[in-house]
């Protein structure tokens, strides 16, 4: 294809490939492996953008990512030498997603046109991700954003939802369409809690206030539906106010129409000094809701209330200390007057340093109460040995007290070491070894390798 020289000069392209290999094993209490992974993931990211000569002219960007994920692992009972049925590749499709030898997917692929009409309109078409107070949304369709003056923007988007729960993940966690879309080839008698639904449509509209003063606000409404009816319909309002140069506040609320309840309500205030000190207080109520057309909609309806305070203190150049405290109420009485509320409390402290040649991070956290406890600490560091070599490492110790099952109480130690090497201007290689030791798994060694190749054309 011939390309006019003038156009070619205004085009920038980027190619990036990441190869990730990892291997590890999960063992049961008897020591037998119950899950074994030898996993390889390959991604290819392509990007191209057209820079207009007029900075206020429309900018066109194309971005796409392709991913192939394979798991070559297996696990067998050493006493019988019999492999798990779930790991029988000839029957893999019968089971819930996870063990796909070759899973090819397209996390995103879109064409984006910004600043149409001297900045009045932005358009994006293709598979794309939206993030706002309603969370992630990955869908195939279009999005338009209309700027009304400097202060107000209107946004609408719609199409077919791609993956609902963990949008950027690969098919091993949530295969395209499992939750709400087509499940061709799956045994319908399996996993009845996962809906076998038809294509899910999504439509959303938002109005946004930004850049006009100390207030930012965005109101969003979004509906997802299938042939069975409305799966999800929520409205959210997010408001941020810069009260002064030092004090800011924020509030957010999400309402679920099918459940006729607020699923999220939070508010917070943050104060910052001119020297980088920070004090923040947040309160939050979360009430999880699930797709209205699934059996899960009847589960886990008790809300959780959090109150959290945090302080950040810059100690010296590059060093900072963070401390936070958390109080949590599990409002179990909301669904049953027979069940008293449960309470947990906890907090943590972290020490961070970031310098041009090294980074250090130490943190300790603890939380405990009616629903058990977790206490632990991590120490990690990375050091650039040269412009092209960096060493990583860390140790970790955590203790878990499970109030429901004493036999799951563990104290677990972990250490990892890694090295990152830049190979020329376009390549980066990262190797990591991790060793976990605790009573449940015994000893587990993980190995992880990443090769990143990228260049701009």
């Amino acid at each position: 294809m011939a390309v006019a020289p003038r156009l070619a000069n205004a085009l920038d392209a980027e190619v990036r490939a990441e190869s990730t290999a990892s291997t590890w094993q999960v063992r049961g209490p008897s020591g037998a492996p119950v899950l074994s992974l030898r996993r390889f993931t390959q991604t290819l990211t392509l990007g191209a953008s057209h820079r207009p000569e007029d900075p206020r002219g429309p900018r066109v960007t194309i971005r796409a990512r392709l991913r192939i994920d394979s798991d070559f692992g297996a696990a067998c009972d050493p006493s019988t030498d019999r492999c798990l049925d779930e790991l029988n590749l000839s029957r893999a499709a019968e089971f819930a997603p996870l063990f796909a030898r070759r899973s090819l997917d397209l996390p995103w692929a879109y064409v984006d046109v910004e600043s149409i009409g001297r900045g009045a309109l932005d358009l994006r078409v293709g598979r794309q991700l939206v993030v706002d107070a309603l969370g992630f949304m990955l869908f195939d369709g279009g999005r338009a954003r209309l700027h009304l003056g400097r202060a107000i923007a209107l946004e609408v988007y719609g199409g077919l939802e791609t993956r609902a729960g963990f949008p950027l993940s690969n098919g091993r966690y949530e295969r395209d369409g499992v939750a709400r879309l087509d499940r061709d080839g799956w045994d319908a008698s399996l996993a009845p809690s996962i809906r076998d639904a038809v294509t899910a449509g999504v439509f959303a509209a938002a109005v946004e206030l930004r850049g006009a003063g100390p207030v930012y606000a965005r109101a969003t409404w979004r509906r997802v539906w299938t042939s069975e009816g409305t799966v999800e319909e929520k409205a959210a309002l997010r408001v941020d106010v810069d009260v002064s140069r030092r004090v800011s506040g924020h509030a957010e609320a999400v309402w679920s129409f099918p459940h006729d309840t607020a699923t999220l309500a939070l508010a917070g205030v943050t104060w910052r000094s001119g020297r980088g000190h920070l004090v923040g207080v947040d309160v939050e109520r979360v009430r999880p809701v699930f797709d209205a057309t699934t059996i899960w909609a009847s589960f886990w309806t008790d809300p959780t209330d959090d109150a959290r305070a945090r302080v950040e203190v810059p100690l010296s150049r590059g060093w900072s200390l963070t401390v936070d405290a958390l109080g949590r109420r599990y409002a179990l009485s909301a669904s049953s007057t027979q069940t008293p509320d449960q309470f947990n409390a906890g907090g943590g402290a972290g020490l961070h340093a970031r310098r041009p040649r090294w980074e250090l991070s130490a943190r300790a956290r603890g939380e405990g109460g009616g629903l058990g406890s977790r206490v632990g600490a991590d120490l990690s560091a990375r050091r650039w040995m040269s412009q092209s070599v960096r060493l990583d490492g860390g140790v970790s110790l955590w203790s878990v007290n499970d109030t429901l099952r004493d036999d799951r109480d563990i104290t677990s130690g972990s250490l990892w070491v890694g090295v990152m090497v830049r190979l020329g201007r376009v390549a980066r290689m990262h190797l990591t070894l991790e060793d976990d030791v605790n009573r449940v798994v015994g000893q587990r060694l993980r190995a992880f390798a990443l090769l990143d190749l990228g260049t701009s054309l």
């Binding site: 990036r16 492996p33 991604t43 990211t45 953008s49 960007t61 990512r65 009972d77 049925d85 779930e86 089971f95 819930a96 107070a133 969370g135 729960g165 963990f166 949008p167 950027l168 993940s169 690969n170 091993r172 966690y173 499992v178 939750a179 009845p192 809690s193 996962i194 109005v207 206030l209 006009a212 207030v215 930012y216 606000a217 965005r218 109101a219 409205a235 309002l237 800011s248 309402w255 129409f257 910052r272 020297r275 980088g276 920070l278 979360v286 945090r310 950040e312 963070t322 310098r355 939380e367 977790r374 632990g376 412009q387 970790s396 955590w398 878990v400 499970d402 799951r408 605790n438 587990r444």
Partner: protein
Amino acid sequence: MRSRAALLTTLALGVVAGAVVAQPRPAPRAWVTDRAPSHVIFPTQSIPLRFDHARHLRLAGVTCERCHATAASSQRASDRLIPPESSCAPCHAIDRARPEGTSSAGAPATRCDACHVGWSAESPLRVARVQIPPPNLRFSHARHVGLGARCVDCHASATTSALATRLELPRMEGCLSCHRAGGAPDRCATCHLTQPDGVLQTRFAEGWMNPPTSLPDLHHDADFWVNHRFVAARDASRCATCHRDDDCAACHDGRVRDRRTHPNDYVTQHVSDARMNADRCGSCHRAATFCAACHQRIGVSMTRARGARHGRFHPASRCGCSPP
């Protein structure tokens, strides 16, 4: 249905009313800070000189432009604007053949070591080099001067300082007093270097460039990995100034486990964490698919896959439940 329409209308009207009520943010007061500028933006310098700006500016006829003659016409941030020795010569009768100096008492100094720190008579023609790496910015002095900006508008402290160092270079807070909504261009890329696709360049030889503390809601402080969900929820397009989709995928595609979120042997520990922090898990993981799929495969579930009989974490009796 009526209540739904009322709620949505209220939300929309609230946002629009906010736009009407919200007044443009007043220009920040004169910015004063004792923080040094970023080493990533203005890399570490070495200026082995002895000089007193304040003293020189008190002299009659001495202005910034007299010594920094090329500053007003400079188009790029990388231009070298330190005065050459010839700028000093009109007042200081420098004679390299006589490094000990020739001036009489009260006259401007002419000895080499009057200005050059570390000068030694043993090697009189060798002085320590001034090293001022170019800043990682785009900036045109000429354009700002053309718009009426004075030197002291950005370099106020230089007039009262002795040797001008990185501390006399502008902070972004000062730039934002003009570069703001309704004023000078306020896009980050107006001043910061960009990659070919327009995304800001954030990785330099001197380190990573992070949003400054003067942009508190964007500042990547130690708490940011917890709070970035709120920043992204507020206005993800601001994240896109520096980050591409790949940066989200680096952690959120499940390819690599983030130890800050899932430390240690998290597969074993997630049991109690999921019970205590179910709302946190739900911000990324959907129970109906992510949790159920793995539990069905392992056999820890109210619904189990057909043929799943061996190698359980928990015997079926421990689950205490049966398929619905």
